[in-house]
């Protein structure tokens, strides 16, 4: 447990340092989403659609289970 938390702390620190190094260079905002030719926008859209479809399918699943229960 302690090992895990140490590792995550290290990870957070490293990312924080990374972000700081980036902000020093240029004024452009929302860096992650605008990096690499805005490919992460596509990732975000895909994640949204995937999450939406999964949520919708789970809802259908629940509705069907409810029907199955009260025969």
């Amino acid at each position: 447990m302690r090992k895990v938390s140490f590792a995550s702390l290290l990870l957070i620190l490293i990312t924080a340092i990374n972000v700081q190094a980036q902000t020093a260079n240029e004024p452009e905002m929302a860096r992650v989403m605008r990096s690499n030719g805005k490919i992460y926008v596509v990732v975000l859209v895909l994640a949204t659609i995937f999450a939406g479809i999964i949520a919708y399918l789970i809802r259908i699943d629940r509705k069907i289970s409810k029907l199955e229960k009260n025969k």
């Binding site: 605008r34 030719g37 805005k38 490919i39 926008v41 596509v42 859209v45 949204t48 659609i49 025969k71």
Partner: protein, 207 residues
């Protein structure tokens, strides 16, 4: 697959494979719902009403996905999730019209009455959606491509590599949309049979 290099939009042009088919699927499902509403009014078979309502439900779901994905995309290309673009406004209006359909159905308890009124409403909603999405945004300038004139995919929008991905993607999304709709229809039919003693006529209406 390579995509054309463009300013501002950059790699996010690939959203075309996801954002646009959402709307195409929505149109397909609403069209199906429209057809089943007409069928219901002609034949009076409650099965057609269940088809129409579940197709609309799924269509609304896809419109929400399309709206969310569009707003995310717009945040990083147009600078804001909502910029009162004519197409955004038209879409928001038709979404509200279809939300009202859900409320209308929720408010009526009698099966026959609900089926009849919502079928009529659905036909009006579809007739309103067409100008709101396809006609009005094209008559004014818009941030969306292909507005303020004839869109025509072939003109400047889609290069040939993107087409090779885009058309299969549209077919795939159509199939996913129809599959989800059929799941919901099957659920609707089952529920109806559980709640009522009589079965729905399996095929063809009683004339």
């Amino acid at each position: 697959m390579p995509v054309p290099s463009l300013n501002i939009i950059n790699e996010s042009i690939r959203n075309l494979y996801f954002h646009v088919p959402m709307w195409f699927t929505m149109i397909l499902l609403f069209t199906g719902s429209f057809i089943y509403s007409i069928k219901y009014l002609r034949g009076g078979n409650l099965r057609d009403d269940i088809y129409a309502s579940q197709l609309t439900n799924t269509g609304i779901f896809f419109s929400i996905l399309g709206m969310l994905s569009g707003m995310e995309w717009a945040t990083y290309t147009w600078g804001a999730p909502w910029s009162n673009d004519p197409k955004q406004l038209g879409t928001a209006m038709s979404m509200l019209i279809y939300f009202a359909y859900l409320i209308l159905r929720g408010g009526l308890k009698d099966d026959e009455k609900r089926a009849k009124i919502s079928a009529v409403y659905n036909i009006f909603a579809y007739a309103l959606m067409i100008p709101l999405l396809w006609v009005l945004p094209r008559m004014v300038d818009s941030l969306h491509p292909g507005n303020g004139g004839n869109p025509g995919f072939n003109q400047y929008d889609l290069d040939k590599y993107m087409r090779m991905v885009f058309y299969p993607a549209v077919i795939g999304w159509f199939l996913i949309g129809l599959w989800i709709a059929t799941l919901k229809i099957r659920w609707g039919l089952l529920k109806f049979e559980r709640e009522n003693d009589f079965q729905i006529e399996p095929e063809k209406n009683n004339k």
